[in-house]
Amino acid sequence: MNTERILQRTGRMFARAIMFAVLLVYLIPVLWMYSSSMRSNGEILLDPLGFPKSFMLDNFVTAWEMAELGRHFLISIAITSVSMSLVVVVATLAAYGFSRLDFPGRQWLFAFFLIGLILPVQSFLVGMFIMFRSFGLLNTMWSVILPTAAVSTPLAILLAKNYFDSLPHSLEESAYLEGAGTLAIFRLIILPLATPIVVTIITFTVIGVWNEFMIPFVMVQTASKRPLTTSLYVFSTKHSANYALKLAALAMIATPMFLVYLIFQGQIQKGITAGAIKS
């Protein structure tokens, strides 16, 4: 009994030691990013491990101006909000249709959307590029909004349909007897009930579109039209030797995201893992 308890205690200590070691692996890069972003480039090159001597906050101002972060932040916000609204509207309406309306070919159409869950972006990227090119949509926000919305929609439809399937039909039936149309029922009864699933859809769409790299990398070549991700790519290529500047830009992009994560941590974890758990 006694040896068992000792074994258990050492086991628990060992487990905790592993967790703390992994914790360091996660914290050190982030701490290094913040501390180096406040040092001069010369200091970093001389001694990468050192602490900031004078807290050069100018780095942030310089990086903000040189990378034109303000402008690209706004572009990213615009792209993300339009793409997210598209996904929410299209996916909830389509899911409601799949859940409640009986039309010929419903099973097939739904199966078709499910295939969209597993198709890689690359399968339609080339075709879409040529298509956008002939419509003159390349280098516009739409060339990022439409494909990113298309990527998020299948999962959104699946989650929303499962959710609608779990709602009882009785509410709609009584509204129907009172003479309400399908769209009115959807807007007045279903949508208010669907808030939790809509929040989940918004969460993974916003994070997915905000972070999207490959689609704007391919679609937007005009410097002033780039979203945050690809503009930062070009910026860090141009100033590849200036570590302090780059790390300051990174810190300014990461910090608001850390804050949002800190506040909505549970919701965000649920939103991002929704795809893996449900499919």
Partner: protein
């Protein structure tokens, strides 16, 4: 979405000169797939990447989840390990590119502390390992969260009764936890393998143009064929190859899930 896919299929059978369409009806792009040394190298690199990330993301995630499942308070650990997933790949990629830097980089500074010579991390023979490390850093916590969530769904009564029967922690792990979340393990394996064929961001961000092609993978090769060499026909054929690969893997894995692994009995 169906229209651009159809276009890609047509393009892959067509001849092009830069962006102008010449004629439909050629198999040359598919013939080239079978005799392209760069493609073989890219495919090999993809396989290395998948193997390393299965260990770094899948195994590590599973072990961390099992540890967290045994700790009374693991909330803070889980929250921090999960955090990288929310950051854009450009932020993580650029940060790690700095850390890998030969001079002024964090990792070589650590090596220097122990009196070791600096390593050129983003060049052969380390290229694929270094890129996989970053992917592991991002996703180990993600898969840990997913495994942890399925482990907490195992009823306490099962675990208690196993403990009363004298099962140690290791036996608990191998004979209770793993069998009860086996379908989730297959799903995560599927995500890692298909993700390994789709991954583009980290390779592009960490390696940039990668002139030696030491870290070329299918997605980066595809984009370079298409945009830098404006070879639309071959680029489309490569994207079809990638699509077929991913769909094939999904098919095989769901077959394995259904017929080999089987469903977990209700508990």
């Amino acid at each position: 979405m169906i229209f651009p896919i159809a276009l890609s299929v047509i393009f892959s059978f067509s001849e092009w000169r830069r962006f102008s369409f010449i004629s439909f009806g050629t198999l040359q792009h598919y013939q080239r797939i079978f005799s392209d040394p760069v493609l073989i190298k890219a495919f090999g690199n993809n396989l290395i990447y998948i193997l390393v990330t299965i260990v770094l993301e899948g195994f590590l995630g599973l072990i961390l989840a099992a540890i967290a499942h045994r700790l009374r308070r693991s909330m803070a650990f889980r929250a921090i390990f999960f955090a990288p997933v929310i950051l854009p790949s450009i932020v993580i990629g650029t940060l790690w590119r700095q850390m890998y830097a030969t001079s002024g980089g964090l990792l070589n500074a650590f090596l220097d502390l122990f009196g070791m010579a600096p390593v050129v991390w983003l060049a052969p023979p380390y290229t694929m390992f270094s890129v996989s490390m970053v992917s592991g850093w991002i996703f180990a916590g993600y898969f840990m969260t997913i495994f942890f969530a399925s482990m907490t769904r195992i009823p306490d009564s099962i675990i208690e009764s196993a403990r009363i029967d004298g099962a140690g922690e290791l036996r608990l792990f191998f004979q209770i936890e793993i069998p009860l979340i086996k379908n989730m393990i297959v799903l995560v394996a599927l995500i890692i393998i298909t993700g390994g064929f789709k991954g583009f961001d980290l390779f592009q961000i960490l390696l940039r143009r990668d002139p030696l092609q030491s870290g070329i993978v299918l997605p980066t090769y595809l984009i370079r064929t298409f945009f830098e060499n404006t070879n639309i026909g071959y680029g489309s054929a490569l994207s079809m190859l990638l699509t077929a690969l991913v769909l094939g893997i999904v098919g095989v894995m769901s077959y394995i899930n259904k017929h080999v692994v089987g469903q977990v009995d209700e508990y």
